[in-house]
Amino acid sequence: MPKIIVEVMPKADLLDPAGKAVASALQRRGNAEITNVRIGKRIELHYESTPTEKDIEAAKQIAADFLSNGVIEDVVAVTVEN
């Protein structure tokens, strides 16, 4: 199924409590080589047919306006997958 994939991450300078909790669990598991973990979101938008340029522009707008909050998150990627 054709998709547009939007990836959203918490801002780099912001505390990511979920990432921090996973990072400390990894230390407990013995994965000392992993220094940090950050957790974001992958959101798939599905389409009937291959997304057009217009669809991609619309998806970028949706990603900025609704799927992320610019105060706390960054949209790191908007990609098409057929």
Binding site: P10, L14, L15, P17, A18, K20, A21, F66, L67, N69, V71, I72, E73
Partner: protein
């Protein structure tokens, strides 16, 4: 005096907010998220809870609900709007108030009777307080850490847009101890603590006088009734 209380799927404290309105002497009107009709109310409360399961971000999906189109328009026209906890998150996601709310710094859900300092009394919802008054209001949240960029913070501080600050304890890591905000016009106020849980003796926070006797929250609701009467 009619005060609308919005129910979204996942709202929890709509009944408590309605009860607070009634105890203050107003008439609560239930508003439904999918209905754009505000039923000629004189003010609106966005109550606490977990609207739409906190999916995507707290308050983000509720901010897109049909009722919010009407509330955003009315708020821009001066209608008093109070956002409590999840309602504060909805106000922020609706861009009626600036900044954002993130998971508590200590990563735990917190529930406590919280001391606040009233930082601004020139609003529809705080005009019955004294400037600098210390009040105790129950706080219960998992994502109550207020943040904003430096420019926004400077504006909030400079223009007196901070309505409440946490006193003694910063319970969630909010910047500048911010517990609640007002907009420029003073009709929109949002805060994380729950004033509707401190409105009736026997059911509020403890005070030095007696257990569960705290009713500091009632002033939010009497303030808006006064403002509506006087306008």
């Amino acid at each position: 005096m009619k005060i609308g209380v919005v129910t979204f799927p996942g709202t929890l404290d709509d009944r408590d907010a309605q009860r607070a309105v009634r105890l203050a002497g107003g008439e609560p009107v239930a508003l439904w998220h999918a209905d754009t009709n505000l039923h000629s109310v004189d003010a609106v409360i966005l109550p606490g809870g977990f609207s739409f399961g906190d999916y995507l971000r707290c308050g983000a999906i509720a901010a897109q609900a049909p009722v919010m189109e009407s509330i955003i328009d009315a708020a821009n026209g001066g209608l008093p709007v109070l956002g409590i906890c999840n309602g504060f998150q909805v106000l922020v996601e609706s861009h009626l108030l600036p900044g954002g709310l993130i998971r508590n710094e200590h990563q735990h859900f917190i529930c406590r009777d919280q001391k606040l300092i009233v930082e601004n009394v020139d609003t529809a919802w705080t005009n019955g307080f004294k400037l600098g008054q210390e009040i105790t209001i129950p706080l219960k949240n998992g994502e109550g850490g207020y943040i904003a960029d430096d420019e926004t913070l400077k504006r909030l501080e400079g223009d007196g847009l901070i309505a409440f600050r946490y006193s003694e304890v910063n319970p969630n890591g909010s910047v500048n101890n911010i517990a609640g905000l007002r907009n420029e016009r003073g009709n929109v106020v949002g805060l994380m603590p729950h004033p509707e849980h401190a409105v009736e003796p026997g059911f509020g926070p403890d005070t030095p006088l007696a257990m569960r006797s705290g009713v500091d929250g009632l002033t939010f609701f009497t303030s808006v009734l006064n403002q509506v009467v006087n306008s």
